[in-house]
Subunit: 717 residues, 2 copies
């Protein structure tokens, strides 16, 4: 199914001569041998994630799959027997099992507290069964299929339609599980159920799951629908990279199985080859260290070193276009799959075909048709700016339209908080989502974007948010010295339109590319606008006065504000307000064009956090009160360095002499940036015409400018 006959032959022929495959095999063999030595344990299910029975059954599915592979590659009966013995033990156990005793899930499994984990189990174990299929007698197979695999597949599908019959990463696992065991059992009914969902079952379209998402608003279901809906034509997965990584494995492993067993499905060509495109999108959604951007619910630290990404890279290479850049990622991952795709990667790495994987500035559309906003990533030198203007992102979506996060080669500079959860750390709420995920992490104020009147976008309501998305205004990555993205959001706050433009500008007068941020707001009424920037490290200097209170109070009462301590407040300056900090031995400065009625709040996360679930990270927040139409303009610089070994501070100060809004009208906004080391720069954006071909003519302070396209930039010496 995954390992083909020709694949096995090729592996056996090359074995001992393909270093990365050989070392991966050695590691895996040691692991499986150690498990075999420990003996088989299939305990009666009892625990939530992190507890013994959960961990043991999870480990079992992994070892079973691996032992199956070893049997195929090494042709050593020991492994087949181990798989068979454990499967027989599961057969005996499973037929006695009621629903799992823990009741928290909307869809309880039998081996695990949630069907999701049961589906995980079956995706892996069907591979193990496939590997030893011919080793078993017909009678043994019948016993397993009758008492274990078929009821197992039925439980997670027909008996749990609220889990199975959806467009959701949970269902993808369910579909793949049912489909893969169907392929091994050659059971067309199961395969059809996998591909198209359960016939005749329609869910309540208004019902919701544990995370607050609709169970099945559109009534679609099955593997193909799960490919269709969440992936944009560019391969962006609507829940974000963290969940894409999680969903990737069942997508790819079932697709590989289909490709091998039912090549007529042409699954890798489905929807214009979106599965393979999605791998490329996912790899581009990583920072310099390979960590995924934690858009929406994403746990920080998840990276392309995860096993699912080994699968993705290997499959993409083998079944895709053999992009040599993927080889360099496989090399960094340090291991390959022990199958047809892994051996292909290992051979080409051995043969020196590796090239660097070049991450560029890209724009990834969101939505099944690519018409629901997207994510733009601007990259220049070592800076990476991630700009989010997506749709809601299913139940894992956060309420942060037109938000951004900034990275450099050292890691996060201005952060997206990510999720509030300690995945699989049982002491922290069983490893599940924490209350603060809803009250803090999902709220708009937890992100680097605009908050109006201390309420979240779409009132923080999924029913509203899931109906809308931002709109790309334009994206341009064609100019090496200026990458730019611009998008509009009209629905987050009814009656208010936000238009944010962000650019990375390479300029010899600045040590690193300069970030330019223009956020134009047009509203029907006066509002209070907050614009936070969440930084790390320590404040070094500001050019404004601020006071620190004797006791700390929260910045507000709800919508996330109740989690922010107000550490200091001050008045912004006439002209520019600057804030510099030091992190990772580098200096950073935000310069904002402000007026004296703007307020500055220095905040720290952690209020109303009775279980210390939140990190005590800091934010710099601009507040503009009683404003209607207004524009926030800021630059961000990464500059200099500090070495605690030589104790030398280099280029510790901002190079911005002044940042000015020289014109701000309905059709045009114009900014000048002058540097301390000289030079003045003019940036003009056309606010109402994003056409590449449009000619513009504009007089600013008596001087006329003409240009073509949505923006104009030039440096005046």
């Amino acid at each position: 199914m995954i390992l083909t006959k020709t694949g096995v032959e090729k592996i056996r022929a090359e074995l001992g001569n393909i270093p990365l495959f050989d070392s991966s095999l050695k590691t895996l063999k040691e692991e499986v041998d150690a498990e075999i030595a420990l003996g088989i344990d299939t305990p009666i299910p009892k625990d939530y994630s992190g507890g013994y029975t959960h961990v043991r059954h999870k480990k079992n599915w992994i070892v079973l799959q691996k032992a199956g592979v070893l049997y195929q590659i090494l042709d050593d009966e020991k492994y087949a027997k181990y798989v068979k013995d454990m499967l027989m033990q599961y057969e005996e156990l499973y037929k006695t099992l009621p629903l799992h005793p823990k009741t928290k899930s909307y869809a309880r499994g039998k081996l695990f507290w949630q069907c999701l984990n049961d589906a995980n189990w079956l995706v892996y174990v069907s591979q193990a069964y496939d590997c030893i299929y011919d080793y078993l007698t017909k009678k043994e197979r019948k016993k397993l299929e009758k008492n274990l695999f078929r009821p197992f597949a039925d439980h997670i599908s027909v008996e749990s339609p609220q889990f199975y019959q959806r467009v959701h990463n949970h269902s993808t696992w369910g579909n793949a599980a049912v489909g893969m065991i169907g392929l091994v059992m050659d059971d067309q009914a199961l395969i059809d159920r996998a591909m198209y969902g359960i016939k005749g079952v329609n869910l309540d379209k208004t019902a919701k799951d544990d995370d607050g998402g609709f169970l099945n608003k559109d009534g679609r279901a099955g593997f193909l629908a799960n490919i269709e809906a969440p992936f944009s034509p560019d391969g962006y997965y609507n829940e974000g990279p963290y969940y894409q990584r999680y969903a990737m494995y069942p997508f790819l492993v079932f697709a590989t199985a289909l490709n091998n067993v039912r090549p007529e499905t042409k699954i890798f060509e489905y929807k214009d080859g979106v599965l393979l495109k999605s791998i490329n999108a996912l790899l581009n959604l990583t920072d310099a260290n390979g960590n995924f951007y934690p858009l929406n619910d994403g746990q920080k630290g998840m990276s392309l070193y995860n096993n699912a990404l080994v699968t993705a890279v290997n499959i993409s290479y083998h079944y895709g276009s053999q992009d040599k850049g993927l080889l360099s990622i496989a090399k960094e991952q340090g291991r390959v799959l022990l199958d047809d795709s892994g051996v292909a990667v290992a051979i080409d790495l051995r043969d020196g075909k590796e090239q660097p994987f070049d991450k560029k500035s890209i724009n990834l559309s969101d939505g099944a048709n690519g018409q629901q906003g997207g994510v733009g990533i601007l990259r220049n030198d070592e800076l990476e700016l991630v700009f989010k203007y997506t749709s809601q992102g299913s139940s894992h979506g956060h309420y942060d339209k037109l938000s951004f996060s900034l990275y450099d080669e050292l890691g996060e500079v201005l952060q997206d908080y990510g999720l509030a959860r300690f995945v699989n750390i049982e002491q922290k709420g069983g490893g599940n989502y924490l209350k603060e995920n809803k009250t803090w992490a999902k709220q708009t104020v937890a992100h680097n974007t605009l908050v109006q009147n201390e309420t979240s976008h779409f009132l923080g309501k999924y029913e509203i948010g899931s109906q809308h998305h931002s709109e790309l205004y334009f994206f341009d990555n064609q100019n090496d010295s200026l990458q730019i993205i611009s998008a509009k959001e009209k629905n987050a706050y009814p009656g208010t339109e936000m238009h944010r433009t962000m650019a990375l500008i390479k300029d010899a007068d600045f040590e690193k590319p300069l970030v330019l941020d223009i956020l134009k707001i047009i509203s029907e009424k006066e509002n209070q606008y907050d614009l936070p920037f969440y930084y790390f490290g320590q404040l070094i200097t500001t050019n404004f006065e601020f006071t620190t209170p004797k006791t700390l109070k929260t910045l507000g009462e709800k919508n996330g504000y109740q989690h922010l301590w107000l550490e200091a407040e001050g008045k912004a300056n006439e002209g520019n307000t600057q804030f510099s900090w030091l992190n990772n031995r580098r200096f950073y400065t935000i310069t904002a064009a402000t007026n004296p009625s703007d307020e500055i709040h220095l905040v720290r996360i952690g209020a109303n956090d009775p279980e210390f679930n939140l990190r005590r990270d800091a934010g710099f927040m601009l507040r503009r009160k009683n404003a209607q139409n207004t524009t926030f303009v800021a630059t961000m610089e990464a500059h200099g360095s500090y070495s605690p070994v030589s104790e030398s501070a280099v280029n510790a100060s901002s190079n911005i002499a002044s940042l000015k809004v020289v014109l701000d009208a309905e059709d045009y906004t114009a900014i000048t940036i002058s540097g301390k080391s000289g030079g003045n720069r003019l940036f003009i954006i056309a606010n109402t015409n994003a056409s590449k071909e449009a000619r513009h003519q504009l007089k600013i302070n008596g001087k006329e400018y003409t240009w073509v396209g949505p923006y104009h930039y030039n440096q005046i010496k």
Copy 2:
């Protein structure tokens, strides 16, 4: 002086065949060539540290010294001419200079705002002058000596006795500067002034410097006195490793000069060879990453990669006993000195003589005679426990007797805050000590040790603290599975005696060595006792209830307490109170033997910090009120791991089932530790007899124990 004639010959002979020397030379040549290309600038002094004129003159002294060395090694006149031209420019400048315009220092320099930096300059520049001495005409030398070097030496000595005439790291620089230029000029008066201080000058013994230390309480002065007083016979420098590192360079470079030019001084044998011993002590005062423990005023991140340590390692190797372990440090440092010592290191590294530098559990006495307490470092597996029971440590001392900090191979686990200063970051108070150094960093509560009645040890007064030191009770590093140190402090709080014992216990039932902490207090009256533990990362779980307030107030009003926000408070348990956290992807747990009247405070640094000078680090604090004689007992565990890539939490819970004080009397304290994975351990300490030979006999719960020596430990199965 530093480069000898035979040294130069050897270097020239081996050049091109000594990789580390060759690469060091190449780096240095590139640096100097780039500076020569830039041209010479000797601006009129104006700025504090970090400002242009400061940075430029500092850079000049470095480049001069290096250019001199290049002239000697490469015999290229270009370098001699560059040195000469710059010296002549300094000669012209210096004779016109008044005192430096900035007035903050107790001893203002001329090139720099403080004499200290002028002395730094002369230590380096006298080497440059030495290197080109023969290149200059007699007339040129006379001009330089008359208008530059002699007045320069006079300014930092006879004209600044408050700087020069002391036992202090500042004076060491001053002495070395005067001595080295004296050696080049062959001026016995200057050399004598360097060795013995200014004849006939006696300072006011009650006057203080900028840091609050006495200027010269004992009236001693000169280089020999500076070797005599601050170094213990074990080579521990009383201000701590951060300042030892700073002082090291003038000590060693002047000693080398003396050794080469005046071998009859036998300077490296002075005080039983303490200069070379001090290098070994300093190398042992580093954590697994080579960072110095920030005892007293120490900036974190300073490490053995600092140039002063390259000097120290090279000199120690060449002029000491050629300890092959030093070669491995030199290799990690990646560069050598371009002199006799550096070439010796490079040759032996080339010849493969390197061995690992093995850091062990050691005890370093403090005080000129080794009779003023000390620092003990317990090391076992990857854990390192630093226990401080020193004397005050001069004006850079903190008020933290019997404090500890804990490290593992990843870095800090339970921290010593270090200093409150951003050295050389001009925006932060000119890079100087910040107000919070006194109000927070030096205070007792900023350390992991006992605070009585919310006051600091010795009332936080230098006059009192500098008269006292703790007393070693015993230290034992002879047992591989149990390293232990124990000390007493009777003066920090008059009427109260503290006796703290800390052990690292290796035990197969625990993943890593267990830290045992016993702090016995005997007092004449009832007090409130606070015992904080400053951790990093995030709270994972506690076994006690706590509440978090709606607004944050400070824990107290003074003595450092005004800088602590009270984030949560709770009551301790009857029996054991546990606190677990996650940092650096590892779990840690403190288990304390408590009773229900004990309070728990979860605190965070950062209150009353109007300029955001303090890190927002967290602490777990035990408080025992209305107690007189009492004993705090705790264990600390490092356990398990969390991977955000595989999302697996391993061994996330403490293995302590119970920690009990089974006996606590004047003469003996006995503790039992039982583990969740079985096993019970008994630890008994004799509180009043530390003799190694003493026989003890004790009945606990009807059972009799006998042993020899100050403690007894056994594991009961």
